[in-house]
């Protein structure tokens, strides 16, 4: 079960679609690519050995050997969940829009899936960086070409913000390669060699090498997550992005940043992350309260949900830097759960926007009496976003809070405020949009606001996933428990062994 096939299958799909004459035939080919990609990832999941923290299905070929850059792929507990999430969300998007949207839109999503798969599976820093950048281009085109009114502005902002961070990360990667040259004798951008390095760290100053590199990498990923001061690109990008674009942006692009922390920042710079951990926890807590407060007064639904995802990501950062198994597992699980809930919420907002052409909350009202199915499903995902128990949101947040409490109770006192504020802005949204008297916008019942069959299927699948993640977290955590414990236990000298090329 080769990982390269999993990564480059979308490209094969796009290539094949050129040879199909009819337009409908091309759509069928693209749609089946997404389906097969999902089946491949499910096959990977079943073939995944949950008992070991080692890298599995390893593929390693020398690429630029004079600088130690190799085409090195491997999957382990940390990335398996995200691989599944990528193919699952892309499949849902294709189910919804493979007939509606034009071909270039669909192939942009396939390229985005390719890039995301690549960055989740690559264990080589340069390979990761290349896929990390490639994933930005289709997102730039999706927002820039099929976006709303201020799409050009939003796409530039998205591009410049993320690239500014990632170009500095390139400097960080190159400096790390120089470090490997100093310590191991030759350049190497292979993560396993990086894990072996002990980078000089002086506790007091910011200017010791490990602290500097720690900040370069974490700022690049913080922009992607996004964390508090660097978050202003997300609301604009979400407001202007098309429905599917928002789903992918919220569902996966933010997770790239968190995955970066898991794979790069925590294992490579253990002392620095331990030392500067409090700063990121402070930013996380501040982010939660700040984003939740702002979400309460937003007039645009998509902006409100965008700020809510900033708040959820604040939790993830707290979980990451709480340095205990609860926090890490909570952060990992919250990342997956938020992927599902926020993409579902954006999908539904997109649906209603497609019919009523407005996103302003004040234009809505009394939707529950007009579109009952829509409001029930929206309520399920609101509960998940509010972290009501037995939904996916609760398990992640509970573990993060218990991890934060274990680190120091004061953090938990403030982080718990997020639970209250989280409930208030989601309920304010639900009250203004769904309750009260029916708004003049859809007074005439000619406009059928409720869900058609296909949309119902997609949302019911997502609801089932949300509830099953809430009630049976063990099934989902089974795959990454060992890796998370491995990361949590041997913190100082973290290294991943390679499972022998099985099968």
């Amino acid at each position: 079960m080769s990982l390269s096939l999993l990564i480059f299958f979308p490209l094969i799909g796009i290539f094949l679609s050129f040879f199909v004459p009819s337009l409908y035939g091309k759509r069928i080919v693209l749609f089946s690519t997404a389906v097969i990609e999902f089946l491949l990832s499910v096959k990977l999941l079943f073939a995944f050995n949950t008992q070991t923290a080692a890298l599995q299905f390893v593929e390693k070929q020398e690429w630029i050997s004079s600088f130690g850059i190799s085409y090195f792929l491997g999957v382990d507990g940390l990335s398996i969940g995200l691989v599944l999430l990528t193919s699952f969300l892309t499949l849902l998007i294709f189910i919804y829009s493979w007939k509606k949207r034009e071909l270039s839109f669909l192939s942009a999503f396939l390229i985005l899936e390719l890039a995301l798969m690549g960055s989740f599976l690559s264990i080589d820093a340069i390979l990761f960086y290349i896929f990390f950048e490639i994933s930005l281009l289709p997102m730039y085109f999706i927002v820039g070409l099929w976006g709303g009114e201020r799409k050009i502005y939003a796409s530039y902002k998205l591009l410049i913000y993320t690239l500014a961070g990632s170009l500095f990360m390139l400097l960080g990667i190159i400096y790390m390669m120089n470090l490997t040259k100093l310590e191991l004798g030759n350049f190497s951008s292979n993560l396993l060699d990086w894990y072996k390095l002990d980078i000089p760290f002086i506790a007091g100053t910011l200017f010791s090498t490990q602290s500097l590199l720690f900040f370069i990498f974490s700022i690049a990923f913080a922009i992607k997550i996004p964390l508090f001061p660097l978050h202003t690109w997300l609301p604009d990008a979400h407001v202007e992005a098309p429905t599917e674009g928002s789903m992918m942006l919220a569902g996966l692009m933010l997770k790239l940043g968190v995955y970066g922390f898991f794979r790069f920042v925590l294992p490579i710079f253990p002392e620095a992350s331990q030392y500067w951990g409090w700063l990121f926890i402070f930013i996380g807590v501040l982010g939660i309260i700040y984003a939740s407060l702002i979400a309460m007064v937003q007039t645009d639904i998509k902006k409100l949900i965008a700020y809510s995802s900033i708040a959820h990501m604040g939790y993830v950062i707290i979980g990451l830097f709480s340095f205990n198994i609860f926090g890490l597992t909570g952060a990992y699980y919250q990342m997956l759960a938020h992927g599902i809930t926020s993409s579902a919420l954006f999908f539904m907002v997109g649906l209603i926007y497609y019919k009523t052409k407005t996103r302003q909350i004040k234009d809505y009202g009394g939707l529950a009496s007009v579109a009952p199915y829509f409001s029930i499903l929206f309520f399920i995902f609101t509960c998940a976003s509010m972290a009501v128990p037995l939904t996916s949101g609760f398990v992640g947040e509970f573990l993060i809070l218990i991890g934060a409490f274990k680190l120091s109770p004061i953090i938990a006192y403030f982080a718990v405020l997020g639970v209250i504020l989280g409930a208030s802005y989601m309920l304010i949204l639900y009250k203004k949009v769904f309750f009260g008297k029916i708004s003049t916008l859809y007074k005439d019942t000619s406009l059928n606001l409720d869900l058609c069959l296909k949309e119902k299927y997609i949302l019911v699948i997502l609801a089932v996933v949300v509830f099953s993640m809430g009630i049976f977290p063990q099934i989902f955590l089974k795959y990454s428990n060992i890796s998370l414990q491995h990361l949590n236990k041997n913190y100082q000298n973290y290294n991943l062994s390679l499972e022998q090329e099985n099968k």
Binding site: L293, I294, V297, A368, C383, I402, F405, V416, I428
Partner: protein, 640 residues
């Protein structure tokens, strides 16, 4: 066999919820009502089947554990979906499912006019399911799951008629205030976990047994947070504002959720963790004082309220205050006793009020009722039983439970005579406003206009009322205080105290001679009777008296009428500043943080245009720049 019945307790309400949820827009009230009540009854019966053998066993083996699957599995923390049925949770289950079934039956006719009955009954069944999880869970986290699930159902049911925005607002307010309590619950849960290393009740009580009591420290902080959680759910002082607004929901909902079951979960939690709370006396003092203040405040507001459901709501808050006093002074099984009796007579009165409102076609203002005795005999007589119980007339259930609380508030080492005095005053106030309610609705002259024809409800309304009235009369016998049982009725065993002895033992009261105890009992009965007579005089004989008194004590009257302006106060202190902060934050976010990128790009653009200015296309300027550049380069070379 036990596992089957135990899981049946849950399967019935869950099945009821799913069946009704699937056919959610059906209009047939009877059918969905029967499904829902059948589910509640089934759960009651299966609980009864499990609990009957308990009577024969002795105290230590009265426990059944069941384990479905493992929810969270970690090295130091393993949270299973495990449930425990011991006498405490058994009694609570019986109360919930019993009163729940009666209220389901009552709702069949009450909701006959509604256009979405199936949805209503599915919410009710889902509420029962969550309440059962809360009560039967064997670890704190699973209780929290039930805790928030119950909050969610109360949100859905309060805002059931969501087309009216005020009702939706009330629902949202209830959920958010509960959420504040839940946040406290979570922090308390983390505190207990960090101290005892486990969330399982059995393990906690074992570990608590051998930890020494402490005056102040981490354990007390955790217990304080747990109390905040309980206060949020059981509507105590800081977080009680949501209960009066929750009356916006249908009356059976108020009866079930906001009188009998949900609001009592706070007390159940503290009684379940009694072995921990015993270790922190200071917190118990805080609980007692908060209980007293809430009781007096709510009673004083209830005196002047016009809306019948608001009066009952504030009376619930004050009765909950009584229960917290009982817990505060360490009399845990007495608190459970009052919880049970209160569930019966308060549910009875809410259903009575419901049938009054139903027959008066939604009229809730007591000024427009009166003299309904003639028109609604069954409702009147059952309501009368509830009234007698709540004001504490001897040999009624309310008397036994309230008297125990008064006794322990005086006699318990944690209690205090002032506490007893204030409780007696509260009992008097309760008698006053309940008699006022009776006289304004049932006895006085008819104040409703002619086209309203009050009529007796059909059998679905009357049967539950009758059953509940019987219960509220005889419920007192399950735990007759030792004083009375010895002297008068020949040694009826104090059934409740014995059963709860292992799980929630009462604190050892100071020895008081029977004469003193009689004196206390007599004092409270006397004060209650006096205040009842006073109210009777006020509202039946000389109806002008209340107006004279109200404008004489104008300030106090308006203060109490306007609920001490607590809602407006909260609005001013918390909600408006919060909105102001978030508005300024969002402007700051838009103008300041977002603006930095604008400023940066403008600076870069200006830099760009600056260089373009140099690029003016004239050869002479280029040559000049070259010479200048060269000069600077060579100059630098020579300087350094």
């Amino acid at each position: 066999m036990q596992n089957l019945f135990f899981s049946l307790i849950f399967i019935f309400p869950l099945a009821g919820f799913f069946i009704n949820a699937i056919r959610w827009n059906s209009k047939k009230v009877q059918l969905s009502g029967f499904i829902a009540s059948g589910a509640a009854l089934g759960s009651f019966v299966s609980a009864l089947v499990l609990l009957l053998p308990f009577l024969s066993q002795d105290a230590s083996e009265r426990i059944i554990n069941i384990y479905f699957f493992n929810w969270l599995e970690f090295e130091f923390l393993s949270v299973p979906f495990g449930f425990v049925l011991d006498s405490l949770s058994g009694i609570m289950t019986l109360v919930i499912t019993g009163v729940g079934t009666l209220i389901h039956i009552f709702s069949i006719s009450y909701m006959s006019g509604d256009d979405r009955p199936a949805k209503y009954f599915s919410y009710l069944n889902f509420f029962l399911f969550n309440m059962l999880i809360l009560v039967l869970a064997d670890n704190l986290l699973l209780t929290f799951v039930g805790w928030e699930g119950v909050g969610l159902c109360s949100y859905l049911l309060i805002g059931f008629w969501f087309s009216d925005i005020q009702k939706a607002k009330a629902g949202m307010k209830a959920f958010i205030v509960n959420r504040i309590g839940d946040a406290g619950f979570l922090l308390g849960l983390f505190g207990l976990f960090s101290i005892f290393g486990s969330l399982n009740y059995a393990e906690i009580s074992v570990a608590a047994a051998n930890t020494s009591p402490e005056t102040w420290g981490v354990l007390s902080l955790a217990c304080l947070f747990l109390f905040i959680g309980a206060a949020g759910k059981s509507a105590q002082i800081p977080l009680f504002v949501w209960l009066p607004d929750a009356m916006a929901g249908p009356t059976p909902v108020s009866a079930l959720i906001h009188a009998a079951t949900m609001v009592t979960s706070g007390i159940y939690l503290i009684v379940r963790l009694s072995s921990v709370f015993i270790l922190v006396p200071n917190i118990l003092h805080i609980i007692a004082t908060v209980g007293v203040i809430t009781m007096l405040l709510a009673a004083s507001i209830a005196i002047t309220q016009k809306d019948i459901k608001k009066v009952l709501a504030y009376s619930t808050v004050s009765q909950l205050g009584y229960m917290f006093i009982a817990v505060g002074v360490g009399a845990f099984s007495v608190a459970m006793f009052h919880l049970i009796t209160h569930a019966f007579f308060k549910a009875l009165m809410f259903l009575g009020a419901g049938s009054v409102i139903h027959s008066m076609r939604g009229e809730q203002n007591m000024d427009k009722m009166g003299g309904l005795k003639k028109y609604m005999p069954i409702t009147y007589y059952t309501f009368l039983m509830g009234w007698l119980a709540i004001i504490g007339t001897p040999f009624f259930s309310g008397f036994f439970s309230k008297d125990e609380i008064l006794f322990y508030s005086f006699a318990s080492p944690l209690g205090h005579p002032l506490l007893w005095l204030l409780s007696v005053l509260g009992a008097g106030l309760t008698a006053f406003y309940m008699t006022r309610l009776m006289s304004l609705t049932f006895w006085g002259k008819e104040k409703f206009d002619s086209n309203v024809k009050p009529h007796e409800g059909d059998k679905f309304i009357t049967i539950p009322l009758i059953i509940l009235s019987i219960l509220s009369i005889f419920a007192g016998l399950i735990s007759v205080p030792h004083l009375i049982s010895k002297t008068m009725l020949g040694h009826i065993p104090n059934f409740l105290q014995n059963t709860l002895a292992l799980i929630a033992p009462n604190i050892q009261a100071i020895y008081m001679s029977p004469a003193q105890e009689f004196l206390l009992m007599f004092a409270s009965v006397f004060v209650a009777g006096l205040m009842a007579a006073l109210a009777f005089v006020f509202y039946i004989k000389k109806t002008s008296l209340p107006k004279i008194l109200s404008n004489k004590f104008k300030v106090i009257y308006n203060l109490s009428l306007s609920k001490y302006k607590i809602d407006e106060g909260y609005n001013k202190i918390i909600v408006l500043p919060l909105q102001y902060i978030s508005k300024s934050l969002s402007d700051m976010d838009k103008l300041f943080i977002d603006d930095i990128t604008f400023k940066l790009s403008n600076f870069v653009q200006k830099l760009g245009s600056g260089f373009c200015f140099l690029q003016n296309g004239k050869l002479q300027s280029y040559a000049f720049y070259f010479v200048l550049g060269l000069g600077v380069i060579v100059g630098c070379f020579f300087i350094t």
